[in-house]
Amino acid sequence: NRRRHLADLVSKKRQKRDLTESGYMAFSKDVLRWRLIGEGYSSQLTVDEQRYIFRLAFRMWSEVSPLEFVEDTWSPLEDVDIKLGFGTGRHLGCNQKFDGTGQEFAHAWFLGDIHFDDDEHFTGPSSHTGISLLKVAVHEIGHVLGLPHIYRPGSIMQPSYLPHESSFEMDWMDRKAIQHLYAGGCKGRFSTVFDWIRKEKTPYGDVKIRFNTYFMRDGWYWLYENRNNRTRYGDPVALQIGWHGIPSDGVDAYVHVWSRRREAVYFFKGLQFWRYDSENDRVFRHDSEGRRYPRLISEGFPGIPSPIDSAFYDRRDSHIYFFRRAQVYAFSVETNSLASGFPKHIRDVFPPVESGDHPDGSIDAAYFSYSHNALFLLKGTRFWRVVGSRERWRRPFLPRNGLMPHKEVDQQWFDICDVHPTSLKL
């Protein structure tokens, strides 16, 4: 009788606080406000440290989901979506008492608040002792967003705390779990996409050529790690941090002219273009004839209109292909002039393999991927792969430079997610 009564009591209490899992039980908005409440500061870390750790924790979720989080210290409390606070024993009006040092370190309420047991020894990210507040915060935020406990090794949603690792990040399965709750992956248009070539000398004097893939959207960018199927941890980064001298609100196109006799990297925006100095990691101030950058596209590339939608350099014929609306312009870098017969309609240069499945101009990016050894045209949330010459060898019925049926960008390049602008600098 005593046991049944006890179980009944616990069950009634639990009904008020269980987190249930479902594909559609989640926040219905994309931008969520959070606050560390004033009466709930920890006694163990400075307030600034606590807020920094929570900003980082929310940002980590933002980097892998379509959600954005903003710290809100000014709105009425009822307008704040997620409130965080520390307490001990009976705390913050909560009906679930903390147990003191050991065992329970925090709890969270679905679509609600997070409480941390201040009797635990919470420490900052750089410490190797105690309980990592960052790790616990990321876990509890996961509950607030709708994730249950997951028993998979490596999951951030494991119920038990595992001591400090050198770093912890959201793995593939955790990402997919949160994305499943929030309408799939992260979608959005890109300003430009390119593979940046680096030349490195080995200790033996050989030159090794490496590349890194970059996605740019407006004023920020991501490095995409093709072998890991994700972006670099901590991205996106503001454009001016990594690319010095190009417009901070974004570019229209990137071109890498790469032949035996020529090598140059150009960024295009509006009516202008810049040449990038990869040795000194900034734009050139002047060209070889002393003309200052930025220069007008109409002067540097006679016959090419501006602004352009995108461009790429084709090493097969040493032409830069510029895209503007439904027209394609082929520019010969050898003769520094428009190739004969151009401009042409985009459908003539890149015919659809499947009738009707075509971007029809105004593309966002033309991207040659060394990883895939293929050219892609991106528009909106979709991309079309251009038929390669090897492919035509095997399937001669495919049209030259044909566009394969479209796919979704987020099914090829994963987890390229925005964060709130206030989170760009933590």
């Binding site: 046991r3 616990v10 639990r14 008020k16 003191g100 065992q103 679509l111 608040d113």
Partner: protein, 110 residues
């Protein structure tokens, strides 16, 4: 203050009254299993404890013995999240807007 001598406070002494009660026997283990959703009120008593212990041992990566052994005791005393591992509400509500309210949470608002 809580007493400590080391620079990094790693030797901070916690008063006994501030320490979580250690799980030492089967009764306390039963409370633990109940608290985190492993025991359902409707389960028959005689099969409850062994089965739920096995379930807890399985998800915790422990040898599945069905017995409250030392490894199970250690696992129960480790730091963990206060959210139950298993749901009990068979009819979750569909929530269409974010929850607004104080810390004393009841049902999410529609």
């Amino acid at each position: 203050e809580k007493l400590f001598h080391n620079r990094d406070h790693s030797d901070m002494q916690i008063p006994t009254s501030h320490q979580a009660p250690v799980i030492t026997d089967e009764y306390e283990a039963e409370l633990f299993l109940s608290r985190y959703g492993f025991i359902k009120p409707t389960q028959r008593e005689e099969i409850q404890m062994k089965q739920t212990l096995k379930e807890f041992q399985m998800v915790s990566g422990l040898p599945v013995t069905g017995v409250f052994d030392d490894a199970t005791k250690d696992a129960m005393n480790k730091p963990r999240c206060g959210v139950p591992d298993k749901e009990t509400d068979p009819n979750p509500h569909v929530v269409t807007e974010s929850h607004i309210g104080g810390s004393d949470q009841s049902q999410p608002l529609q």
